[in-house]
Structures are given as C-alpha cells and as structure tokens.
Amino acid sequence: MNFIKNKKGVSEIIGYILLIAIVVAISVFVYQFLKSYVPKESLTCPDGVTLLIPDYKYNCLENLLNFTVQNEGTFSIGGYFIHASNSTQEIATIDLTHYYTGTNQLSAGAISLGFANALDPGKIVPSVSNGFNLSIDPAVEGTLNKLEIIPMRYVVYQGKNRTASCGNAKISLPIDCN
C-alpha cells in the first residue's frame, strides 16, 4: 500500500540520540541528589589507645594540681583532654585546660604534646609539665574529687591533619587532697 511506503517520521538515529541524552540527563540529576548520601569514613581513634595517671599531687589549700600521664596503650598519643569535677555530678564538667600552667601547647581544647603523636607507648609526661592552678578562678568552688582524661591523637582525615578525641578510652580517677 502506498501510504506505508510514504509514511514519514523521525529517523532512528535521532531517536537513539534523544533517548541517550534523556537517560544521561536523568542519571546526572540522580547522582547530584544522591552523592551526599554515600557514607564516608568517620574520624575515629584506633582501639588500643590508653592513658594512665600513675600519680598526682593535689594541694587543696592553694588549689594546685599536678599529675603524671603515662601512655599505656599500643599507639602513640598527641595529647589529651582533661576535665575535673567538684560535686556529686557523674560527669566531670570543669575544663582544666583553662588553668593549665605547664609547658605544652593547647590545641582544640586539648593539651597537645607537639605537632605529631609524640607520646610513644610506655612514655611518660612528668608532673612538672602538667600543672594546673585553679585558684585563678574564684568561680571554681570546693575541692576537686574526680579527674577524667581522654586521649587525643592526630590523624589524617580527608587529606587534612585533624585531632581525634578517643572518647572510648576515657578514664576517671577519684582524687583527694594530698
């Protein structure tokens, strides 16, 4: 029949091009929307990070505190966060870095032992380098009864050097005047 031979339409090549273009456009749109939902690696501390406070000296009258820190774990440590409590509160909420009189730097709220993980396993930070004078703040009332120390490590995260808090390795130490 003549009308079949003379029937006109878009050529197949154009049809393929249109289809492929539509599919590519949709896939780009879906990728843009979903790419943020791809989980990325979290900033974490390795297991086996442990700190110990083998001894301390707390002068209640002058509100002076010194303690030794020892790396008891299997990974080097870059520093630590230190908090204290002077009440029956379970969580230590006094940030002792505000009263730090030692020789090390403070970094992101932690006492940093250098620009790298400088405290190797078994090494000690002597108490002479770990001094805290709470008498400078009259708002800190009463005597301290607990210390909480959290190790800190420098890790490379997304191409940048960052401080990682090892919250799972937190240790609490009851203290009293001595």
Partner: protein, 175 residues
C-alpha cells in the same frame, strides 16, 4: 465488471490522496529540533517541580549528608539536683540540643537548650567539650528528659544551616 471495480478503486484511492507529492507537513529537521526543544523544556519543568518536593541537602565534613553524621554523634548526659551536665565524647561538634520533657501520660514539650539554660555556648559543644547548667526550672514535673542533638552544616550555596537529628540519636535521662 472487474475493470469497473479497478477504476472505482483507483478513483477512491486518489480521492483520499495518500500520495507523498500532495501531503503537507513539517520537515524532519524542524521536527527533530522541535522534539529536542520539547524534551529539554519538559526536563527543566520536571526538575524544578521535583525540587519543590525535596529539601536541599545539608552537608558536613566535606560533602557528607548531615543525616549520616548524626549516627557518629556520641555524648553522655546526666541531671543531678536540677543541674544538667553534658560531655561530647565523640568527634562531631554538636551545635545545640532539643530538650524534650516527658511529663507522663503522653504529655511532653520540646524546647531548644538555649531556651532551657542560660549559659549554653554560642558555638555549641566541640569534640570532647563539656557543659554544665541549671535546668531545674524547665524540668519540674518531668519523668524523663530526652536530649536530641542539633548539628550545623552547609548547603550548596555555602550558607550554614541547622539540622535536628532523629530522636533515635538522642539520649533519655530518667528523673
């Protein structure tokens, strides 16, 4: 008779005029251009329409969706004699908290922590940060208090925006 039928058929055929010489229409080139233009226009309309049904993604830590970051939030909290203490034990800074007070029998209220305590730090609680504040006036009559973290992220144009994590990422304290 057969010739008559054949003539009649040809007459009718030419009458309907399926011959390509006389058939009018748009040329294939113009049809292609129109089709492509139509597809692009429809695609743009669908894209804009679809955007209205989805919220803009808030991201944190170099493009990770903030809903996923909620799962990495770690904190401990305690209320002792009306004093709220919070310790951020993870590596995700928490900008604020929603404080949900459960007074029992299905009755509860929710406020942001800045309205419940007076000394919440403006930048929130950084990694390993601690907070202590009096919340006694807000929790009177409460049986349970739930703290739900609020994080701060960025949207595609660089603006900062807050995001409240799901309640499953919060912590409940019994009074």
């Amino acid at each position: 008779m057969k010739e008559m039928n054949k003539k009649e058929k040809n007459r009718r055929f030419s009458q309907y005029n399926f011959s390509s010489k006389n058939r009018k229409g748009v040329s294939p080139v113009i049809a292609t251009v129109l089709l492509i233009g139509l597809v692009i226009t429809l695609g743009a309309v669908v894209f804009v329409w679809f955007q209205n049904f989805t919220h803009e993604a808030v991201t944190k830590f170099e493009g990770e969706n903030i809903e996923l970051v909620c799962a990495d939030v770690q904190f401990t909290a305690n209320i002792n004699n009306g004093n709220l203490a919070i310790s951020n034990t993870g590596n995700v800074p928490v900008y604020s908290f929603n404080v949900k007070i459960d007074k029992g029998a299905g009755s509860y209220t929710t406020k942001e922590i800045t309205e419940a305590v007076s000394n919440w730090p403006k930048i929130g609680l950084r990694s390993s940060g601690v907070f202590s504040g009096d919340i006694s006036s807000y929790i009177s009559g409460a049986t349970k208090v739930t703290l739900i973290p609020i994080l701060r992220g960025t949207v595609s144009n660089g603006d900062e925006r807050s995001f409240t994590c799901a309640e499953q990422y919060g912590k409940t304290i019994s009074i």
